[in-house]
């Protein structure tokens, strides 16, 4: 469960101060599937970074599963990301020199897991995203959709309760993008993972069951979505 209260984020850019978040409060329950939507510069990425423990707010409180995390140290945040949170990025962010399974096992390395177990779990995660036959391929031997699946497998390998996806379909054609979005839906429905999607694409956002509309560093609308066209 995510509880944020009055989150403010300011950046110093030379002499001027940019206020990316101007007091955001929200609650996202366990197992929810939410989309954060808004034009670029609306603060949605900043919000995701803070909620994903990659960044700290300038002020405000953030509780993750009832524990305050807004003032944790870098290493404590790293541990939270490692154990509780998975990320999927627009540009996949895979290590180009590593085959798929090595990319997927990376979070387990920092969990301190032994080598054999890591490989087993990494392969299991890759099979879950239906890429079982691509385990030993390097990222540049994979298509965009396949790369994003590898990235999702990496996000899921530690079995986190929270999955953040930052424009996950931005670099994919619409058909592949659709498949990826379907995958998120399944993960949310079948595995009970809380999914938070950041996007500026209304079509993508419609797949979530709740849309938080952002503008100029504030949430301007909290919209509940009726399931569209049933669950595919």
């Amino acid at each position: 469960m995510i509880v944020a209260q009055d989150l403010v984020k300011r950046y110093e850019l030379g002499r001027s101060t940019v206020e990316a978040l101007r007091g955001v409060s929200l609650t996202i329950g366990r197992g929810e599937y939410a989309a954060i939507m808004g034009p670029s510069g609306s603060g949605k990425s900043t919000l995701m970074n803070i909620l994903g423990c990659l960044d700290r707010p300038t002020s405000g409180a953030y509780l993750l599963d009832d524990a305050p995390v807004h003032a944790r140290s870098d290493d404590e945040l790293a541990e939270l990301r490692n154990r509780r949170i998975g990320f999927v990025f627009q540009s996949f962010h895979l290590l180009p020199r590593f085959p798929a399974w090595k990319n997927v096992e990376l979070p387990l390395v920092y969990l301190g897991m032994g080598r054999k177990e890591r490989r087993v779990r990494a392969i299991a995660a890759i099979e879950k995203v239906e890429l079982g036959e691509r385990v030993d391929h390097l990222p540049n031997e994979l298509s965009g959709g396949e790369r994003q699946r590898v990235a999702i497998a990496r996000a899921l390998v530690t079995e986190p309760s929270l999955l953040f996806a930052d424009e996950p379909t931005g670099n994919l054609d619409s058909r592949t993008g659709e498949e990826i979005i379907q995958l998120f839906g399944r993960l949310n429905r079948d595995a009970g993972v809380t999914v938070i999607l950041v996007t500026h694409d209304p079509v993508v956002a419609r797949h979530a069951r709740r849309i938080l509309h952002m503008k100029d560093g504030l949430i301007v609308r909290d919209e509940a979505v009726e399931p569209v066209g049933g669950a595919a």
């Binding site: 960044d55 290493d75 790293a78 290590l95 020199r97 990376l106 979070p107 920092y110």
Partner: protein, 401 residues
């Protein structure tokens, strides 16, 4: 991630830029190699000096006329210096029970002639004991007579080179040679000894001490050589010698007593200092190599900013990133160190095997030190780039193109 895995990971990373990694290692390779070679030459020189000294007899005490002060050079207010004489030597051998052998030494340079062949040779006037003290022995015939018989006999013993030049393959025993105009009968030829401490021992011609004194019209000796049976006798024997001679020289200490160990010690100290200096100079190249490593690690951290961001995003802590890059830098420098060790030892052993008399001694200690140094260079110069990597902000690192 365990230690071996970390090393494998860094090797993979280094293999991506193979050429660059090798160039970077080259600095360390050259550094380690030169440290090993230069220190080995220094150590070799030290060992060489020791064997040279010991080949000229052990536990040797030498008395020379005149007092050498710590400042060096002759005394400023010079009272009359009593020369050392043959009777001084005689008295020493009678009154110092610790001394095993005593040999007076006179030294000069004369032309040695046989028939129409002649050469200039250093002439050493002494007694039979000299041979035993200095570990010099005849090959054929006999050495000059014993000390009891401070003889004026005109006999001589030729060094190998002198014999060869004057007699060729002929037997010189019993033949008469002329030394400085006087006739001497050849009674022996020395074994080959070679050069030692800058003196070609095969060029020497030995004659009885009295004969040499007559030849050079002097009573004064160059030095008196003595030896003692055990090393522990060296210092007490020197005291005895000092006392006896002081008495004979009207209470004046106008002579210098020292043992070969003193000289050896001084030389060794000198060579040790030299070895350190050489090693230090070579170590500078290792430091330069270390700067090269730091440079390339900084480049590497910059190039891999995104990788660092990804690792941090999935949960790498600061120490994980720090360790990854320090290990990479240490692997780079140690690999260079290892190759440098191989090269240094290889070159050193090759020189030792093929170049005769070249003083080089590759010791495990030197090799170990050089390698450890390369390892430490990797740690030292890896810390800063690794720290920079570990402090990167994950968001900015992920945004890096």
């Amino acid at each position: 991630m365990n230690f071996l895995e970390s090393i494998a990971l860094s090797l993979e990373a280094l293999a991506v830029n193979r050429f660059r990694s090798v160039l970077t290692m080259l600095g360390i390779i050259i550094g380690v190699c030169s440290v090993i070679l230069l220190v080995s030459i220094g150590e070799g020189a030290k060992a060489y000096v020791v064997t040279q000294f010991n080949s000229l007899g052990t536990n040797v005490i030498i008395v020379t006329p005149g007092k050498t002060q710590t400042s060096g050079g002759p005394p400023i207010i010079s009272s009359t210096v009593h020369p050392l004489t043959v009777s001084d030597a005689k008295v020493l051998s009678e009154r110092c029970p610790r001394l095993a052998l005593v040999a007076p030494v006179v030294f000069g340079l004369s032309s040695v002639k046989y028939l129409n062949r002649a050469r200039n040779s250093p002439i050493l006037g002494t007694t039979n004991e000299f041979g035993d003290i200095r570990n010099l022995h005849v090959e054929v015939g006999s050495f000059i007579p014993k000390a009891q018989d401070y003889s004026e006999k005109r006999v001589c013993v030729l060094g190998r080179t002198v014999k060869k030049e004057l007699f060729g393959e002929d037997n010189p025993l019993g033949k008469m040679v002329s030394i400085g105009g006087s006739k001497f009968r050849v009674i022996g030829v020395m074994k080959k000894k070679g050069r030692s401490l800058g003196l070609d021992l095969d060029e020497l011609v030995f004659v009885p001490v009295r004969a040499a004194q007559q030849l050079y019209s002097t009573e004064a000796l160059l030095e008196i050589l003595m030896n003692v049976p055990r090393e522990s006798d060296l210092k007490p024997a020197q005291e005895e010698v000092r006392e006896v001679l002081q008495q004979r020289h009207e209470g004046e200490e106008d002579f210098t007593v020292h043992d070969q160990g003193d000289m050896l010690g001084i030389l060794q100290t000198l060579l040790t200092a030299l070895t350190y200096a050489l090693g230090g100079i070579a170590a500078i190249s290792l430091l330069v190599g270390g700067i090269g490593i730091m440079n390339i690690m900084l480049v590497s951290v910059h190039e891999r900013t995104r990788e660092i961001g990804i690792r941090k995003a999935v949960g790498a802590k600061r120490r994980h990133i720090l360790a990854q890059f320090i290990i990479e830098s240490v692997v780079l420098s140690s690999l260079g160190g290892l190759i440098g060790v191989g090269l240094g030892v290889g070159i050193g052993e090759t020189i030792a095997a093929f170049v005769e008399d070249f003083p080089i001694q590759v010791s495990a200690w030197t090799v170990g030190m050089a390698f450890c140094f390369s390892f430490l260079v990797g740690v030292f110069f890896g810390v800063y780039p690794a720290r920079r990597a570990s402090l990167l902000d994950p968001i900015e690192a992920l945004r890096f193109e």
